[in-house]
Symmetry: C2
Subunit: 195 residues, 2 copies
DNA sequence: GTCTATAAAGAGATAGAC
DNA sequence: GTCTATCTCTTTATAGAC
């Protein structure tokens, strides 16, 4: 997948920066991760770094966007609900990722935050896709038809986010296992599923 | 409950600061809330403010501690699960609270954060109390005995946290209503509940 | 209990050279 | 595409007077 042409170097550098950002966050924590340290991690000056992303927020947003895109491709085995579980399971293996995601998205809750619109769009999109997956399972008879797909989708997202935050403070169970359990519980509630 | 004696003024001022902190966060957003602005909101200098709480983090932690304590007393009608729903419902009426809670707790996910230990303890305590409430409902026959109380407790907390984050980006349903629905679903799954 | 003053550091971003 | 240099602003926290 090596890009060629005049932009090859720039593209590679961008990707190097996105990867390094997570390493820095893992090492220093999100709070203490400044453009200065981000730049140092990839052997650039602050000005050099900002040349690629314009601002710290855009950089972090780019890390998360890249993750989302990669996650869609990975884990081809099952539907989006299954994928979500796989993603949660693997997220804890990427130091810094949970810290970045939870803190950055919480900050972006402020309507003034430059990445607020990104998250509004992202959550809406994810909710719709997940609702589609619920409907598909209902058609296949593997999920209770009594459930409202939009509600289940919203719940699944909230659960993923909330479990990942909680996992940072110590959890008696693996978040991914918990999610699997809840999907089973929710899917069978209200009856009418093969058993 | 008006305190008297030599500390009365200090106590009142502390409470005034805690209340004002939420107002400032609601107005400026968490990111842009500095000790300078916090101080101005209560007519103190930065040094005057820090006299009471020592640091910005301790101040924010105190806001959250005070909330938790007040929440336990409010809403006496039902058990902790019912209370949780009532709390979620009312949290959205307090501008700045969701923003403070979600961002501050996410930041505190960093083990180096001064309030990390506070959240570790808080989540453990909340999980235990909620698990007790689940057990009580199971004994009363109003919650599926098939469910693991600790798992349900963890799920309920994650859901509350996750829904409140999501609500900042627009939600098709009221978080509290959603929580109620899920409690019903989870409580009936696995059968053996009066209906 | 509160202030002034100030430290001391760190932030994000830009201009302009190379 | 990258750097040096620098700006400007803001941050949290402290020392010491009142």
């Amino acid at each position: 997948m090596a890009a060629r042409g005049p932009y090859a170097k720039g593209v590679a550098k961008r990707e190097e920066i996105l990867t390094a950002a997570l390493e820095v966050i893992a090492r220093q924590g999100y709070r203490k991760t400044s453009t200065k340290e981000l730049a140092a991690a990839v052997g650039l000056s602050e000005a050099g770094l900002l040349h690629y992303f314009g601002s710290k927020e855009k950089l972090f947003e780019a890390v998360l966007r890249a993750r989302d895109e990669a996650d869609v491709d990975r884990f081809e085995e099952s539907d989006l609900i299954g994928k979500l579980t796989a993603i949660i399971r693997h997220n804890s293996d990427v130091p810094g990722l949970v810290q970045l995601y939870s803190t950055f998205s919480a900050e972006a809750g402020d309507p003034q935050h430059p990445s607020h619109p990104y998250f509004v769009e992202r959550y809406a999109r994810l909710r719709e896709s997940l609702a589609d997956a619920v409907r598909a399972r209902q058609s296949a008879g593997t999920f209770s038809p009594a459930a409202d797909p939009e509600v289940i989708a919203t719940v699944l997202i909230a659960l993923s986010d909330g479990l990942q935050v909680q996992s940072q403070f110590g959890l008696p169970v693996e978040p991914a296992d918990l999610l699997t359990q809840v999907v089973g519980l929710l899917g069978s509630a209200g009856g009418a599923v093969d058993s």
